[in-house]
């Protein structure tokens, strides 16, 4: 730890003490501090971890003398991509688009060859109507489809059905199945049903939608399923409910997750890494200025994110509640105290583990490997580094890759923590937080200087300030103003101290 990191660490400690005192009832009872409430501390740690990841990443680029303004957009892109990669669809069996052949007729035109898929007597559920309509197939007849000019549109199917009401004239139909028998949940035994003819193998986490013409709809999650011949026996996570009867129809849907979780995460990080590679190549090979390259990145990735998801919010819902989401929003509970309603817990938020892991790797990389030394050297004097036989371009590119991968890691955690993100605002200004934290932590924008410890402390100071504004009920309109002023103060002090130290040192060496 150098003197510079010590300074920011000192500021951190002072801010911490200040926060404790300001939020306590009295100076003697610091345990009354709202700041020290465990959920506040947990939240703070979580935020420090996630923003810290961004800060560490951008610190690498700043050490090379560059800058990365695309961090916030990378965060957003990573969140959106993760949402897309992990999107879960529930696919009913044998679905087709249909529309009514003629108003008020009982004929449906199926867009596709449904001959053989649907048979006379099959029950179908039709979507998009006001009520989920339950139809019975009375006749199936393939037809040749053509447009108004006679061009062939392939084979379609005409269904004669019973059960259409006035309203439905187009939508989707899917097969529904009758319930052979069922059992309510009792004791340790889960609720179950037996249905026949499901064209696919049901498995845990698939769902079955049950519906009743008058009692409505209910969606149950499969816990376990087994199959004997045509008959599937399915157990559920939830209860069937008292009004359940054989009158209900079952529409099984297969859970389709686009990617396995590790593959999705690797893909997001891989894409981010490629973008970093691109930034690095543009900076080193095409000799564009880092500011310009990453400013364009900022705009481009934000746009791509919004376009990818049609500007709709991306959510992880409850699909990953047990699996991936806790990585962002969960915690490892450590202590529990109090009784009854006032029970309190304190735990370490999981993002902190990710962050510490990344921080240790980053610190080791920067301080103990030759590449870390190369980074510092080329950031300080790229020419001299090149004249010393260092592949400066590669090392610079590596820094950009590290930065985007850290940003994407942060983005994944941010997205998981908030559960639902809106692509137009998610991650806005995060690059500035990251850069500010790095600069506060002792990275010089001229390059060649910086420590991981400093960046962590810098991030913590930023987050404490943020917390301070919240807890002291300072109007949050002033948030940016306060943060800006503190950074300005910090770097001014730092520059002054450094100047004095340099002068002292010069004199000392002049003396010797």
């Amino acid at each position: 730890m150098n003197a510079k990191s010590l300074g920011i660490f000192g500021l951190l400690v002072m801010l911490f003490v200040f926060m404790v005192l300001m939020t306590s009832d009295s100076w003697t009872n610091i345990f009354s501090s709202t700041f020290l409430q465990s959920n506040n501390l947990e939240n703070l740690l979580r935020r420090v971890s996630m923003y810290g990841l961004l800060g560490i990443g951008v610190a690498f680029v700043i050490i090379t003398g560059g800058i990365d303004l695309s961090v916030g957009s990378i965060v957003c892109l990573a969140g959106c991509l993760l949402g897309i990669f992990l999107q879960v669809d529930y696919q009913p069996a044998s679905v087709f688009e249909v529309h009514r052949a003629k108003v008020a007729s009982d004929m449906l035109l199926v867009h596709g060859n449904a001959d053989g898929v649907y048979k006379v007597g099959d029950r179908l559920r039709m979507y998009r109507g006001r009520q989920p309509a339950l139809l019975t197939v009375q006749n199936v007849e393939p037809v040749q489809l053509a447009d108004s000019e006679g061009e062939s549109l392939g084979i379609g199917t005409v269904l004669k059905v019973q059960g259409l009401t006035r309203d439905e004239d187009s939508g989707q139909v899917a097969k529904a199945f009758e319930i052979l028998d069922f059992g309510q949940a009792q004791g340790g035994q889960a609720a179950w049903v037996r249905i026949t003819g499901v064209p696919f193998e049901l498995a845990a986490r698939d769902r079955i939608a049950f519906f009743h013409p008058s009692l409505g709809l209910k969606d149950l999650v499969v816990r376990k399923a087994s199959r004997e011949g045509e008959v599937s026996k399915v157990e559920f996570e939830q209860a069937l409910g008292e009004r359940f009867s054989k009158e209900w129809m079952a529409m099984p849907t297969a859970r389709k997750q686009r990617m396995a979780i590790p593959i999705a995460i690797m893909s997001v990080l891989g894409i981010a890494g490629c973008l970093g590679l691109l930034h690095g190549l543009l900076v080193t090979r095409v000799h564009l200025q880092p500011f310009v390259v990453t400013l364009c990145g900022l705009l481009i990735y934000r746009g791509i994110s919004r376009w990818l998801v049609d500007d709709n919010p991306v959510g992880f819902g409850i699909e990953y509640k047990e699996t991936l989401s806790p990585l962002g929003s969960g915690k490892l509970s450590l202590f529990e105290w109090g009784t009854g309603d006032s029970v309190q817990t304190f735990g370490v938020p999981y993002p902190l583990f990710v962050f510490l892991f990344a921080a240790v790797i980053a610190a080791v990389f920067l301080n103990l490997t030759i590449w870390g030394r190369y980074l510092l050297a080329l950031g300080s004097n790229e020419e001299a580094a090149r004249y010393s036989g260092i592949r400066t371009e590669r090392v610079t590119i590596l820094a950009y890759v590290i930065c985007t991968i850290s940003a994407a890691t942060g983005g994944i955690l941010f997205a998981l923590d908030s559960g639902s993100i809106s692509p137009s605002s998610f991650g806005n200004f995060y690059e500035l937080y990251a850069i500010a934290a790095a600069v506060l932590g002792g990275c010089s924008l001229r390059g060649g200087e910086g420590s991981i410890f400093g960046v962590i402390a810098g991030t913590a100071v930023m987050m404490l300030l943020n917390n301070l504004i919240l807890l002291l009920k300072i109007p949050d309109r002033l948030e940016f103003t306060i943060i800006g002023l503190v950074i300005l103060l910090g770097v001014t002090l730092d520059e002054t101290v450094r100047r004095i130290a340099a002068r002292r040192r010069a004199m000392k060496s002049a003396q010797s």
Partner: protein, 508 residues
Amino acid sequence: MPEVDTPLLEVRKIGKQFPGVRALHDVDLSVRQAEVLAVIGENGAGKSTLMKILAGVQMPDRGQVLIDGETVTLDSVKASLDSGVALIHQELNLAENLQVGENIYLGREPNRFGFIDRKQINADAVKVLEQIGLAVEPTTPLSDLSIGQRQMVEIAKAMSVGARVLIMDEPTSSLSSAEAERLFEVVKDLRTRGVSVIYISHRLGEVKALSNRVVVLRDGENAGVLGSDEITHDNMVRLMVGRDVSQFYSRETLPIGDVVLSVEGLRTPTWPEHEIAFSIRQGEIVGIAGLVGAGRTEMLRTLFGVDYPVAGTVAVAGKKIDLKSPIAAIEAGIALVPEDRKLNGLVIDMSVRHNISLAALSRNRLAGGFLNRAIENRDTTQMIRDLRIKTPNDAQITRFLSGGNQQKVVLGKWLSMMPKILLLDEPTRGIDVGAKQEIYQLMEKLAKEGLAVLFVSSEMEEIMGMSDRTIVMHEGRITGELQRSELSEESIMQLATGNANKVATVTN
């Protein structure tokens, strides 16, 4: 002319103390009108501090400055300028984005109703430029000018404020020979106009040629004054280092080994029209002489893989190498101590240790790319000891070392890797006499150990003193080679100016 006895500018018992260091102690100095006074001394002798005091950048703690016999207080640059003292900075203080005329009148532009009066500027500038004989239009952008011309603009600027004493701090350090010649003419011309010049330089040859008197400073004190008939190289060196330097360049003839570097048909990107061919043997010290701009630095850059050769082959110990980057050169055993150590040689804000180890990190790395700190510390300690690098410890930031010690750090970086061929570009530029001699001794010692040393120098004495054999270049080609016995200032200049009627005797 005022009375001859009253000096134009006089400094009496000037003292300046920085915390913990005595920069100047009871220094006296006087400049008569129309005199060129050289101020010389090793680095740290107090020259710069004294000049800063005269230029109003720093205030003395004790003593007086007198102009025309009257005490003046030079508490700002403006005060100095008003008293007629102007400093021409080592690093030129001009705005590259402005025109010549605008630069001359920067900060005091003639104006009409607040708008800059360009006509006036240009009319005035023409006169000043004519005075010093610089043939450029006032409307020329400064960026179109060479370093030498820019310096002239600085001088013009000083003249335009009516300076009577011009302080020139190392004015020729970045000039070509021709430009330097031009500068000397201007200095002589200024003298005939009654302007006095305080001339600071490390180049004793220039000092000898130009000055009327020489003031020597040593450790912040007056070490002596030399009158015009006493200005000799030996006298100056003796006063500067405080001891007799009888054998400044003491070369003994060494046994020479096999050819270690051979260059054939090399065409550098800067001078692709000329082929370069030569070779060096183990234990040989070869000097490369030539005027500034003769393509010597470019040749070294190409040999070190910084610039990719257009054509030709370079072989180290008989093995051809592809010089696509410095890495290839380093792997083949070539090391380069570049001309500008602050720009290319050192990461000046890193420690001595980190600089010395920088090039060898990759070679010494542990599995997984981890630094081998044991080797790093061992090599650094060894280099600091062997090269006698004066530094409090190996964690000292290199910026705070003297020029000579910085140069040794660059040397240490390469010597720790045990190269076969050492390329040195102006190895003693900007370093003081004591350190110069150490560098020379080192070159000789390395040659004795079997290294091939190839050095570029613009100092005639250095070339003649140090080289076993001298290659002379002119405009990108080798115009001749001279054996030690054939070396003379004249023979070198003949070849350096492209006058190749002396047929080179190539003996490889």
